[in-house]
């Protein structure tokens, strides 16, 4: 097929692809440009001068909500979700490779977690934590135990929200680990074992270094999906919102280019994360190639 000359079909499809990329990136580029709107400028074109006025205003804080606290919460949560996703998905991948009873059930759960509508998962987790709170309060009044009296809620960033995010990131992590282990040559493990490595040593010195680029990929999914997650968090967060939730609220209340500045900033952060992950993958692959490990 490759020796056939390019037909008219190719150019038609290439044009379609170019238009699709424009559709994909055009709007984001628009708000990137508009976030540098002059102080007198409005929400749309024309540009009224060029300035970093709206970034400065954002730095001082956007209206009533504390954007920077929300950002800090989102970053903390994203990092926690990233670490847990990598570790849990990696070990689950190992388990699935060895086969165990109930693996079919766990697989179905992972897929279900991916395709049950987010609002349903969110509502369920919200209900679960509310019922737990009620049970604790009932116990507090029934027993009169001092340490239970001030119980507020268990719902929060590191409990219900963390769990809600994991139901979204873990299935992706598991599917990536499946693909990775499919291509993984067990000969490396056997070689390590023949050289006298224990199970843990085999993992640490053979499996993890070989799989490192893919693990970075899982980490990228874990962090970015959590950092941008909104639907599953909405009913399971408790009092303190993450950045996407605050952003959703701001769409109706903020009527200045400040929101574009915020958009540019968030997208910029995501792009930095994506770029560093891709660079890490390339670097790890090159290092591996240099050391002669062509897995």
């Amino acid at each position: 097929m490759s020796d056939r000359p390019r037909g008219i079909g190719f150019y038609g499809l290439a044009l379609f692809f170019a238009l699709f990329v424009l559709f994909l990136y055009g709007p984001t580029l628009t708000i990137l440009v508009l976030s540098f709107q002059g102080p007198e400028g409005g929400l749309t074109f024309p540009m009224n001068g060029v300035s970093t006025h709206w970034f400065a205003k954002l730095w001082e804080g956007a209206g009533v909500v504390d954007i920077w606290a929300a950002l800090a919460r989102s970053l903390r949560l994203g990092l926690a979700v990233m670490l847990l996703t990598v570790v849990i998905a990696f070990f689950a991948g190992l388990a699935f490779r060895k086969h165990f009873r109930g693996e079919g059930g766990l697989f179905v759960l992972a897929i279900a977690s991916l395709i049950v509508p987010s609002i349903v998962v969110s509502l369920g987790i919200g209900l679960e934590f509310r019922l737990i709170d009620e049970a604790i309060n009932a116990m507090a009044s029934a027993t009169g135990w001092e340490w239970l009296q001030d119980h507020g809620t268990l719902m929060g960033l590191s409990t219900s929200a963390l769990g809600a995010h994991l139901t979204w990131t873990l299935p992706f992590g598991l599917l990536i680990m499946f693909a990775v282990f499919n291509r993984f040559d067990p000969a490396y493990e056997e070689a390590a074992r023949d050289l006298g490595a224990s199970g843990a040593q085999t993992l640490r010195h053979a499996v993890v270094p070989i799989l490192a680029p893919s693990l970075v990929g899982v980490a990228l999914f874990g962090f970015t999906l959590s950092f941008d997650e909104l639907a599953r968090t909405s009913q399971a967060i408790g009092g303190r919102n993450t950045l996407p939730l605050e952003l959703q609220g701001l769409t109706t209340t903020v009527t200045t280019p400040e929101i574009y500045a915020l958009g540019t900033l968030t997208t910029g952060m995501s792009l930095v994360v994506i770029a560093s992950a891709l660079c890490a993958v390339l670097w790890l692959q090159r290092r591996r190639a240099r050391r002669g490990l062509l897995a």
Partner: protein, 314 residues
């Protein structure tokens, strides 16, 4: 006697030989349980229990202050109130019809665009590096914020937005088109914008696995490009199409963020109904709606599942 003894001793020695690997594999199996346990724990606590509780609470009573653990069918009766009359559809039916309309439109467009883009990447790009770079270009927005990507349509679609300004300057329209933003149109547009990647990735994956000699064979047998596409490529892409479709359908069916932001909080959707009821603390009602939604989505997936064996394809 010997005839009888021989087989048994052979079996015994066989057993002895198998014993060692059997214990080893049992130990490995035990380890596998420990390795899978954290994931099972997360899904149990944050998926299974919440779903079970949702079903349970959907049968509970409630008042303005609290939910009361006493059995009732009232919540379901409320969901389907007035739905038996055919002449005037009830709120639930109308909401589902509106959501299904978004679902169908988003599915058609994401499938058409996703398939075309995947086809271009898989069959028209010859260099592997170019292919990976273009594929990444398609997927990078997936890792950025959905809300921001919705907001970014506003300066384009607004009443005085870029689209209206441009059309007016070109003299094509005399006054701005209302309803580019905060309308059904903008909701579908945003869904296509956000979810096409869920079609591209699985379809591209299916296409990448197609043996290129099959395409050659079709050409050699005299098939035109269209015939090859229809009789070779599309049938072999079915799993990818089905997986992408499941993603898009479940994402749009349960959506309340896109409908909320792009519809100016004015358009109804099933997810939005649940969200509003949650904010009014009508949890049993929201739970009943969630159960109905889950049932509807499961039916749609089962219908798709009849087309292909999903388990085998993953």
């Amino acid at each position: 006697m010997t005839e009888l003894v021989l087989p048994t001793s052979a079996a015994a020695s066989n057993e002895a030989a198998e014993k060692k690997p059997a214990t080893a594999s049992r130990r490995r199996n035990g380890l596998a349980y420990w390795q899978a346990a954290p994931m099972a724990f997360v899904f149990l606590v944050f998926l299974v229990v919440p779903l079970v509780l949702t079903v349970v609470v959907s049968f509970w009573q409630y008042n303005e202050y609290e939910i009361i653990p006493a059995f009732t069918l009232q919540n379901y009766a409320d969901v389907f109130e007035g739905c038996l009359s055919l002449s005037e559809p009830c709120t639930t039916v109308r909401t589902y019809l509106s959501t299904l309309k978004f679902c169908l439109l988003a599915w058609l467009f994401t499938l058409g665009i996703g398939f075309t883009v995947a086809y271009f990447l898989a069959f028209q790009i010859r260099s592997r590096t170019t292919q990976m770079v273009l594929f990444l270009i398609c997927t990078i927005p997936f890792w950025t914020s959905n809300v921001i990507r919705m907001i970014s349509w506003m300066p384009l679609l607004g009443r005085n937005g870029l689209v209206n300004e441009t059309l007016q300057r070109m003299g094509l329209i005399s006054k701005p088109i209302e309803g580019l933003l905060y309308s059904d149109f903008s909701v579908v547009l945003a869904c296509v914008h956000l979810y096409t990647v869920f079609m591209i990735v699985p379809i591209f994956n299916s296409m990448a696995r197609i043996d290129r000699s099959l395409i050659e064979a079709a050409y050699d047998a005299g098939a035109t490009g269209w015939q090859t596409l229809r009789n070779v490529v599309i049938p072999l892409c079915k799993p990818g199409i089905a997986i992408g479709s499941i993603f898009v359908i479940t994402l749009v069916m349960g959506d309340f963020v896109t409908v909320g932001v792009m519809g100016g909080q004015q358009i109804a959707s099933v997810g939005k109904v649940i969200q509003v009821q949650m904010s009014y603390l009508q949890f049993p009602m929201a739970a009943a709606n969630a159960v109905v939604l889950l049932g509807a989505v499961m039916l749609m997936i089962l219908a798709l599942g009849r087309v292909i064996d999903l388990r085998k394809e993953l």
